[in-house]
């Protein structure tokens, strides 16, 4: 494999001025009047051709700054960015930037295409395909100001990805639009990845990072905290997030996540929704106690059309420490269609090898390929499990003494 992108000791210093006057003074005299803020410091990585690197980190960690530097919209303070070849680089940092509301979708295509370096004749050749992908056949000759935000975003994404790039830089692009659009985004990005496109992908969706990326880079306060295989980096990052969450929950009473996830059910454009999550053998206590040695969780959902969805269930210790996650697409299990058109699946954990403690269940609904999260009920069932063993711990691992 050849190197597609090499980033070496990349640094970005933002100069913070106390007032516009200080900024003017610096501009006119050349004397420094700023306070330095290092948004990125000594970040290095090498991406081989066809590799997908997920960039993760907290808000303000420097992820977007890194992507903007690699895309060329910001200039680095020091360090080097080297690309292995003159191939096309596409950066999806914001969808729809450059569209003029008074012009039609078709007119905007030509101009926005030129902005991202697609020649007129190439746009003309790709126009029909872009419009079809954006599903805007009926609206393409209307001014963009009459479009919904979803339509604008669809057109912009279809344009940005109309030409397969050698290097694709994506900043949270999957967080926009409805689920139908998100699904198309993920599928197109995945097809680029399979075709050998090098991808730099920044997302708060750890699920998508897991699905798409071969490696991950965790940026923390502007510095590369960990770079390596996706699972290893995500595990470290999740531990860090749990620690932060635990600290926060100690400091303030947080609103229950369950309420948030259920409220999202009514959002428009949703292609699927979980309708119920039940765990068997829970008594009526508060919290309920699991009265069986087995834990059986049943999740029901409705999905638009005849798409066969996938389900996931996550078991965590209260406080956020993960015990296990299972998903139908990973285990190659097909959920069962119900006579009323809904889908249902039950996962059973026989002879639960847990130690005593308070546990929480979350349920997830995915698309048919397991790429897009249609719905999630986070921390929806809380229960107490009393194990026979009096010893401390989380799970009883298979073991033998010698």
């Amino acid at each position: 494999m050849s190197v597609a992108l090499s980033v070496e000791r990349l640094c970005k210093l933002y100069k913070l001025y106390d007032s516009p006057r200080a900024r003017l003074q610096a501009l006119v005299t050349g004397r420094p009047t700023h306070r330095p803020h290092w948004a990125l410091r000594d970040v290095s990585f090498v991406l081989q051709r066809g590799q997908c690197l997920g960039v993760i980190g907290d808000n303000g960690a420097g992820k977007s700054t890194l992507l903007k530097l690699v895309a060329g919209t910001l200039r680095p303070t020091s360090g080097a960015i080297t690309r292995g070849g003159d191939g096309r680089v596409t950066a999806i940092l914001e969808l729809g930037a450059g569209f003029h509301p008074d012009f039609t979708g078709r007119e905007n295509l030509r101009f926005a295409g030129a902005l991202i370096g697609i020649a007129d004749d190439e746009i003309a050749r790709l126009e029909a395909e872009i419009i079809a992908f954006a599903e805007l056949e009926d609206a393409i000759d209307r001014p963009v100001k009459t479009y919904s935000s979803g339509m604008t975003v669809r057109l912009a994404f279809a344009l940005a990805t109309a030409v397969e790039p050698d290097v694709l830089i994506i900043d949270e692009a999957l967080a926009v639009g409805d689920q139908h659009f998100q699904k198309k985004c993920v599928e197109r990005i995945d097809s680029f990845r399979r075709a050998g496109c090098t991808i730099l992908f920044c997302s708060h969706s750890q699920y998508h990072v897991r699905q798409l990326c071969d490696a991950a880079l965790w940026i923390d306060t502007g510095q590369a905290r960990l770079l390596g295989p996706t699972e290893m980096v995500l595990a470290s990052y999740e531990a860090h997030v749990r620690m932060l969450d635990a600290r926060k929950s100690q400091e303030s009473m947080a609103a229950p996540a369950e309420t948030a996830s259920r409220a999202a059910l009514s959002s428009p454009g949703r292609r699927g929704a979980i309708t119920s999550v039940n765990a068997s053998d829970l008594d009526g206590g508060s919290p309920p106690v699991l009265t069986s040695h087995d834990l059986a969780v049943t999740v029901s959902a409705s999905v638009a059309g005849d798409e066969r969805p996938n389900f996931g269930v996550m078991l965590q210790l209260v406080g956020g420490i993960g015990v296990t996650s299972v998903a139908t697409h990973v285990d190659r299990v097909e959920p069962l269609p119900q006579p009323d058109g809904t889908w249902k699946v039950t996962v059973t954990f026989p002879d639960l090898p847990l130690h005593s403690g308070e546990y929480v269940l979350s349920a997830y609904l995915f698309d048919s390929k397991g790429m897009v999260v249609y719905d999630e009920w986070l921390h929806c069932i809380r229960f107490l499990f009393v194990a026979a063993t009096p010893l401390p711990g989380l799970v009883t691992l298979r073991h033998h003494w010698s």
């Binding site: 516009p20 501009l27 200039r75 914001e94 003029h100 902005l115």
Partner: protein
């Protein structure tokens, strides 16, 4: 001049996009109107028509000796057309980076494109009007050889507007107050130039103020070529050269000092 050279190189590489942006800017200015592009030319044409009717037809006002023409209307029109173009290009160019902030933060585009677009758009509106003036006024002196210098004068004029607009755009990105201050100076600038008065009418004590206006040399040059059919005097060329060099040095410094952080300011 390293920074400025790099900017000009980037601009040259993006010249196709520049023309596309200028065309779109023109279309955007009349988007939604019935008469469309006509409005872009109607405004200055109406101004020219009013000056001609009022000063040269109704009142038949005349200038004294030493003027490039005796007709007050013609004198005002030849000065006002470049002044209107200058005001338009500099004002739009000055705010061009502020307006393009979101676009520049998301797309790797040369910043010079935006002030250059403002100047080019201004040129696309006012150059045809200047050409019209050539056909109206030069027959009076039988298309003299001085007319051959008009393209050079216009090229220098456009270069000067670009340098000034880009410099102001960078300063405006740092301090927004500049937009208000420059707007005020553009408002009074026509009074401190040979657009409305003959240079000889200025009190000697403040005549230096004329040369502090970057539009004084080119306006004098245009008046010479279009109204007298005479070669512009050496001071016109020297004045323009001085302004071009000064603005190039200033812009080079500004680009160099702001290069790393300009996008952050938008």
């Amino acid at each position: 001049m390293h920074a400025l050279t790099a900017e000009c190189t980037a601009l040259w590489r993006a010249r196709r996009l520049l023309f596309l942006m200028a065309r779109r800017d023109l279309s955007a200015r009349h988007a939604g109107s019935v008469l469309g592009i006509v409005w872009l030319y109607a405004q200055p044409l109406l101004t020219i028509a009013i000056y001609y009717l009022v000063f040269d037809v109704v009142f038949r006002m005349r200038l004294g000796d030493g003027a490039p023409t005796q007709a007050v209307g013609a004198y005002l029109i030849v000065g006002l057309v470049p002044w209107m173009a200058f005001s338009d290009a500099v004002l739009r160019g000055m705010i061009s980076l502020l307006e393009a902030g979101a676009l520049l933060q998301k797309n790797p585009l040369p910043t010079a494109l935006f002030p250059a677009r403002a100047v080019l758009t201004g040129a696309l509106i006012y150059l045809p009007l200047t050409l019209a003036l050539v056909f109206v006024y030069t027959p009076m002196h039988h298309f003299g050889a001085a007319l051959l210098l008009l393209p050079l004068l216009v090229a220098a004029l456009l270069a000067m507007w670009f340098l000034l607009a880009y410099s102001l755009a960078i300063v405006a990105a740092a301090v927004r107050d500049v937009v208000q201050i420059v707007g005020f100076f553009l408002g009074i600038g026509a009074f401190l130039s040979p657009v409305l008065f003959l240079p000889s009418m200025f009190p000697p004590a403040i005549s230096w103020l004329l040369w502090a206006n970057p539009m004084t040399p080119p306006v004098l040059g245009l008046q010479s070529i279009l109204l007298s059919g005479a070669m512009p005097r050496a001071e016109v060329w020297l004045g323009m050269l001085a302004w071009l060099v000064a603005l190039a040095v200033v812009l080079d410094r500004l680009v160099d000092r702001s290069r790393e952080q300009l996008i952050d300011w938008l």
